[in-house]
Symmetry: C2
Subunit: 468 residues, 2 copies
């Protein structure tokens, strides 16, 4: 029996469909193949040399064992709260939206695990509302704080606040029972705290950046706790690992995907739109947004030359955004490459009711399936974009399951690696984020960053000449 697949379809980027002016010709594809094949080899070699550590996440049997053990230990809790931000939150959110029902948190009949909350910000109103609700439920709640270092200001702020609340309500000894830490195995602030308090804990693996960490303990624990089959998730990633390691360009979906994105960027399409026709996949478009932006948005190439490179990723949602963005997508500047995500078999479906006699113009909907309507809308949008010569790709899910989601994650992570090599940049660092972090520290503390604080002062002052 065939297991469900994720397939990559790229005909709507070709000159065959779009014409030479807008599409990629056979010759251009062959040039891309020639340029990309050595990079596939390089990535395979780097991977063997343990320089691309996320590539080994499908095979981390020890971590999976630890995750399952901890997940089993919190069985029966009613609320599971992730404290993290960026790469320590987005993957968790995306897995949950993809693999659990829409009404999961509201409907206990529809869930196999606890309610899940991922607090990925430090908004005072949002946090106040959440704390007011959770306050009387702390004894049935587990918190999973996720940070490699423990010094990320937002996560640390959430964590200290929760510790203080637990201590106040349930006593100092309650922390050990209610907090699980996912952090560096050896060093750092959160490691120190974890060892000091004796928290149960899981490792954030070395050499895996936040945006590549969803298949590590970072993403796996909340998934396992909420009833997601993490073995199948990793098996899906393993399945895709085979595909994307292939040396032949035309058989390697990550290579072709990266090359097409690179090609269109060079031709002036600076914007990359990911548009799932599936509510379940909407937060993976958000996850992709981080993966793509932080990895490829770089000022310097590997030779140190200033390049200011990087496509801007955008998330959209079908069919909803047809009523919001498609006007621009079709008639605005032809500066975008589109990636649709589609689902062949939704498994659960709804039948549309019968049109009333007074409105026969709605008969075309009577007794039709929602799935048919949604997938036809995708085809209709695809057709309309092609009519305006806008290139588009489709990632086709046979169905949505841990196995296909694992494939999808691994496909886009390796696509990112190959795209990084094509752009000639370091896809794994994020140097531009530091200044903002330092500036926050300067503004929060009085002493350590005094010089920087002085530099920021003029920005803080509102100049009355420029306010209306």
């Amino acid at each position: 029996m065939e297991t469900p697949q994720v397939k990559f379809y790229y005909k709507n980027t070709t000159a065959e469909v779009l014409g030479k002016e807008h599409g990629i010709t056979k010759q251009q594809f062959n040039e891309l193949a020639k340029k990309t094949e050595p990079l596939i080899k390089q990535l395979n070699n780097d991977r063997k040399a343990k320089k691309v550590r996320y590539r080994d996440l499908p095979y981390q049997t020890d971590t999976v064992k630890s995750v399952k053990k901890i997940a089993a230990g919190v069985k029966g809790c009613e609320n599971f709260v992730v404290l993290g931000i960026g790469g320590s939150a987005m993957g968790n959110i995306a897995l949950q939206t993809a693999l659990n029902p829409y009404m999961y948190n509201l409907d206990e009949k529809q869930r196999k695990g606890p309610r899940l909350f991922v607090l990925d910000n430090v908004d005072p109103q949002q946090m106040r509302s959440f704390l007011d609700w959770i306050d009387g439920r702390l004894d049935r709640t587990i918190f999973n704080v996720i940070s490699k270092s423990g010094r990320t200001a937002e996560t640390a702020a959430q964590f200290l606040t929760i510790c203080s609340l637990l201590e106040k309500r349930l006593g100092k000894n309650s922390l050990k029972k209610h907090i699980i830490a996912t952090t560096d195995a050896k060093e750092g602030t959160l490691r120190k705290i974890t060892d000091n308090f004796g928290f149960r804990n899981l490792p954030v693996p070395d050499g895996v950046g936040g945006r590549f960490s969803v298949l590590s303990a970072v993403g796996l624990l909340s998934a396992a706790v909420c009833g997601i089959d993490i073995d199948n998730l990793l098996a899906g990633a393993e399945r895709m690992d085979k595909k994307v390691s292939q040396k032949d360009f035309y058989r390697n979906p990550a290579a072709v995907n990266a090359a097409i994105n690179y090609h269109f960027y060079k031709r002036g399409k600076r914007i990359s739109v990911m548009m799932p026709y599936s509510y379940a996949l909407k937060d993976f478009a958000d996850w992709y947004r981080q993966l793509w932006a932080e990895s490829l948005g770089k000022v310097k190439n590997l030779s140190g030359k200033e390049v200011f490179v990087g496509p801007t990723p955008i998330k959209a949602l079908g069919a909803t955004d047809q009523h919001s963005q498609v006007q621009l997508y079709r008639q605005g500047p032809n500066d975008k490459l589109f990636t649709f995500l589609t689902v062949q078999d939704f498994e659960k479906d709804v039948e549309i009711g019968k049109a009333p006699a007074v409105a026969p113009e709605l008969n075309f909907l009577s007794r039709q399936k929602f799935s048919r309507l949604l997938n036809n809308e995708k085809t209709a949008t695809e057709y309309a974009l092609l009519a305006s010569k806008r290139p588009n790709l489709t990632i086709a899910f046979d169905k949505i399951s841990p196995y296909t989601i694992g494939q999808f994650i691994y496909l886009f992570e390796t696509t990112t690696s190959i795209a990084g090599l094509l752009f000639g940049i370091d896809a794994y660092d994020q140097p531009a984020v530091e200044l903002g972090k330092d500036a926050t520290l300067a503004l929060m503390s009085s002493s350590e960053y005094a010089d920087l604080a002085k530099k920021i002062k003029p920005v803080m002052k509102i100049d009355k000449n420029f306010i209306i």
Copy 2:
């Protein structure tokens, strides 16, 4: 006593801050003023000639009365479900996120009205999950179907499905009790159905496009039902109406905002990022996305010349997206204009806990307020963007209230109108959306659109040569 204001701050777009190469000089501002002032006048005249009907929404006393009456009539229902999409959903969602607590649907102590759901898609899995939950609760649920015509496929599909379910569970006569229609006052499919079944109903005003309709009955009913003070919302819009009608460019925030956006677009900044530092405002960034994209993304100017114009709006969220997008924003191409939304007084706040003795490096957070951290993060990001010469605007809310939200809505609607005039395009139509709608009809029905269906066929067929 001063009422809370929304202010527009633009110093960080000036040459004074960014230098001549990246900022707007005094002379350029004066040129923009000269170009824009006649357009302010034109808009004011068009408004008087009843050509810009959304401008009169703050003054619709009759509609407000009807909305309040209907809202009072459904008092005590437990669930209020909006069936709509695009302009008939986004404003409703944005108002709810802005003006009601984060945990509103989950915590009955935190809400004054029923739970609110806005179903703005036709995803089969999402809909199945929702229907499974609502099924046993139909007797305590009110549905508000919103569509000017009633022929929008997604809304019609939802509506027919709900009608069928109500009929099955509660009998044919239940429809009248459980459905409220917001639709054209005189004609169209939903008007026919409404009159036939005798639904309570509210008007979608003539000449107000979906994306400009949030302050009409479209957005007001769900807001009023959920306890939002719609009088103050409209009073805020009225307050901003005074500001944005001013002839003097430098006193008119909509004019300066539109001119700055126009100026940077012409200089190659094709992307417009709206980044609220407030969870409450995050869905207004989404609402803005529709307003901006559908209004300004146009193939032709008013003289009929092909221009393919339009900035691409993006939503981001502070501080969360610092850990996702800021790397690209600072070091990627300098092709973006940023608009921050900030809140001075969050009213509700949270105190961060004390750092444990083992981690003195977190002392800078101990006993600080979340509001202080979040607002310092905004300043830090602003500073970091300026260090990379990226222009940015700030919309500063004294606090978030119906009165300031009304100001914000009206400010951006009029900004859009003036930007449309600057670009020389029709900001109120959306011709490019039709082909996709027709294509959906062609794919759903067999007869009426047979020719179009034939044309779409090649798109539907998966070509085995281009799939991996």
